[in-house]
Symmetry: D2
Subunit: 309 residues, 4 copies
């Protein structure tokens, strides 16, 4: 590693901020030297990311972008959800959606990977096998998601003040409002080969990290818990980071916090065609930095587990 | 007040355990003197409650029972969900389900009130107007509920150990498994005049108290948020303890903790007939003791707000 | 009550911000109408408070100031600790230090009361009987204090971000650095009739409210726990808000949160002259607003408990 | 590794209980096969540990005992603090107190190591340099310690119920009462070459893990913060797990949680000979299992960092 960037702490050293981190020099983005770099992780806010990804790609650097700027295939969809113009549309065709377990082959060839959002990571992994097999009875999905406070970022606002979060639990942007719906629909529709509509209700948990999504679908076939587990385990047999729990067990945040795992449980509701899928990820690892490293490993032809176990 | 009962602390005084509480003598249930008592609150576990409610009713004492023993109209349904025989079936016909906002008239005349469970309180208040008006498009309801750890009671188990609950969030008894479904279905079906099926997913929050339920239904008519709010406010105009938030606002646990309130918000999902209802109660007050006092007030012909504001 | 002031929410109504609060109009400080007001609570930051207290006193309004500006008798001491000039020194002679249990008579006659800081409230109540009786063996006190995050105020900084406070515990300003030492020494020295030195180590707790101070002193006489309790109960016999626990019990934050109480426990260390005093207050009530109301009650000749039980 | 023991889960596999753990078979202590074992970690409660350590030592197994049974050199002192007879006194002469940074040479030769208590680990590391240099002005130490709830163990009691711990902060066993005082005095007196008296005030934090001790001593010489830091860094130059912070910085729990580190900060109080030392450890790692592994590494002639970074 050559450097990390920071506007606030430029001139310092990463390990001064985070004692467990390596002693990387901190430089401002403006002054970041791009020559000699193989891969860059770009962690800027959406819109701000575009010119830097352009600069990185022009310099031939493999780029993993953690913003939303290159996750959506269509600039029009981007502009509808993010309410700003997309000014790097020339890069959209080469950008690959970096959900490793769904796109391994494409990521191995990619020069620009758009790292998925934290909510979509857990939700899409929970739905992919069922979507791919055409097992939805109706193209509607309800996602009731709960996220730790780090999901809201490190910037300061009353909504992340300790006294506001502690001993509270609150929904936000319920219905068809949260921007991550755009990613979830795009990728779900690719898997299903047709329209899929999401009702999405995120909530803020009084804890630091983790996202647990409880997902309700109606299935075209009624399978036993054991059969669902078998179908999902088969679907994720290739990779090490998706764990499908045995029938009767339920995913919790304790299963995944501080890991790159996505843990999934499957509960069919007796005498109905309703299936309740629970998926858990650590929003800071599998939902962000861990998945970014997993993408890098593939892009460089390395074992995808390197640095993640 | 004459006394409180306690097996563990019999012989002591309530204010020694809870400095803010009145200095009531603590006696064991066996030795509780029933003469001269107007009203009794019976807070025993289910099954254990039956003989004491029988004794209280034989002594002519108005009784508010906080167990599940008298909530279900049918002994057969009770036995199916609780897996024990009902040995006080002669009292079932006189027992009134004590959800004040739905049953005020009957509670005013009641001698025996079954105080509702904590989950059903918030869920039924969130659904009653829509059920009564016949506005469900299909008789299926999804309830994603999140409860603080006091909902699990004061008895000791690993599931309520601090280190297990803290920095965790976990579902339990997902699907059609939790006993409170029996109450929810019974009362929902009375309101709807036909069958209603619940998919119920409770989760344990890392906080002490409060239940927030996020409820998903499909409606027979598509109303605006403002219209839903108006319909609900009309339905709860009579009583002081149900607050329906304005369109665009969302119920949170902070709204209700340490109060007898049930706060409800209504969010129709654009371009669909899906309605997301959020309801919040404090499981220890509106979901238990506060509602019990509210019931007592009505049974004694008092203002239902006494002691609760 | 006529109005409350707010710069951020001027033009609004208090109950919109805090549903449980009364529906007071919110006006900016600039536009606050002072005519017809009996008492004003001034809750501005230190220094900012001075001109407003001057204006209030010129208008003849009884004033309770919650900043540090009128707590110190000496402008020089103020300037040494707060590093700014005191520009309202003409009011210092009339300002009374509003720790009710120590200054009841003076507060009853006061026109301007300086509400004590949150740390000094609990610490001075814990030490007053021993200081007044001359029972310190040496004029040195060690205070190890732990405060909930609301002690740091509502303004936004990384130190109150949920993710920084949660699952952490951290000391700050250890030694002879925290400004509240100036108040503690001033009042302790008045009580003792001579110099008293404080070593003060505050810590930030991962909870919303409450201050627990563990205080270590060496005593001139060795008394039993029961004798210390008797001495303290005698000292606080007059008022309702200081509770001295029985020998063998220990004060906790649960004893005081959401109350105007200061709870004190006394533990002599066997075979030594060391006494460990634990005092607990809710920093938002006895350490701020509750004590302010208690002061108002006395200034207006009312029962000091009004509105506080 | 061959097996782990469990009475509750005998017959199972460790990874079923803790998904991140290795798949060790779980056997009951009774059935534990000792042949072929090089080292055993014995984690039984005090007293229960004695016969098993005897059996292990008879079988020639290197033993690291995590109970209190072999920490005290004197059976009489053990019996005074633990109120039970010591029935394995023949092993006391060979037992080495396993605080690595103080006893490296002896541990390398030891057959039986008594792993220190969680509180003594952080406290003794914070005091050792000053004791060894004879820099205490008086032989008295005040330790104000704060521990996460895992310090109380996994057994069930109301004191570890989530609702009791959450949003509370409480002292316990204040003064000269906690059994860990016996270890602290024994080892401190060895270092100082004379008597050292501890006043010890432990408190329970509303968090899962970590111990932060704030320690007050009077020093025979007045050094600057920088001089204290230099003296401590020199004392701990050999090992990797004690970090002495730069002058002006303060140790927090965030520095140590999930690590084998002990982080120490030193704050002399200006114009006095009082020194405030803050030490932080993770009670489950440096205060228990991590230190046990560190001891094993030394006993086996390995690098003491193996498995701990």
């Amino acid at each position: 590693m050559h450097f990390a960037t920071s506007e606030t702490y430029a001139g310092g050293v990463l390990s001064d901020l985070y004692p467990d981190a390596p002693a990387l020099p901190l430089v401002s983005v403006e002054n970041a030297p791009l020559e000699g770099i193989d891969v860059a992780f770009c962690c800027l806010p959406h819109t701000a990311s575009m010119p830097w990804v352009q600069r990185l790609r022009r310099a031939g650097v493999l780029t993993i972008d953690l913003s939303a700027d290159f996750r959506l295939d269509s600039a029009a969809v981007y502009e509808r959800w993010y309410k700003v113009e997309h000014t790097a549309t020339e890069l959209l065709p080469e950008a690959v959606y970096g959900l490793v377990e769904l796109n391994r082959a494409a990521i191995r060839e990619a020069k620009l990977v758009a790292n998925p959002g934290c909510y979509p990571t857990g939700v899409l992994l929970a739905l992919a096998p069922i979507l791919r097999e055409g097992l939805l009875a109706e193209p509607q999905v309800i996602v009731d998601a709960k996220s730790g406070a780090s999901g809201a970022g490190r910037s300061l606002s009353l909504t992340t003040h300790f006294v506001e979060v502690n001993e509270n639990f609150s929904p936000y942007k319920i219905g068809y409002a949260h921007r991550h719906i755009s990613e979830m629909e795009q990728e779900a529709e690719k898997l299903a080969g047709g329209p899929v509509h999401f009702t999405f209700a995120p909530h803020l948990l009084p804890m630091s990290r983790g996202i647990l999504s409880t997902i309700y679908v109606r299935t075209a076939e009624i399978l036993s818990a054991e059969e669902w587990v078998a179908l999902y385990r088969e679907a994720y047999a290739e990779g090490p980071f998706v764990r499908v729990l045995a029938a009767g067990q339920l995913a919790t945040l304790r299963h995944v916090i501080r890991t790159n795992l996505c843990v999934i449980s499957l509960t069919p509701v007796e005498d109905t065609n309703t299936l309740v899928i629970v998926s858990a990820v650590d929003n800071l690892i599998k939902g962000a930095s861990g998945q970014a490293v997993q993408n890098m490993n593939l892009m460089l032809g390395l074992d995808e587990r390197l640095g993640l176990q």
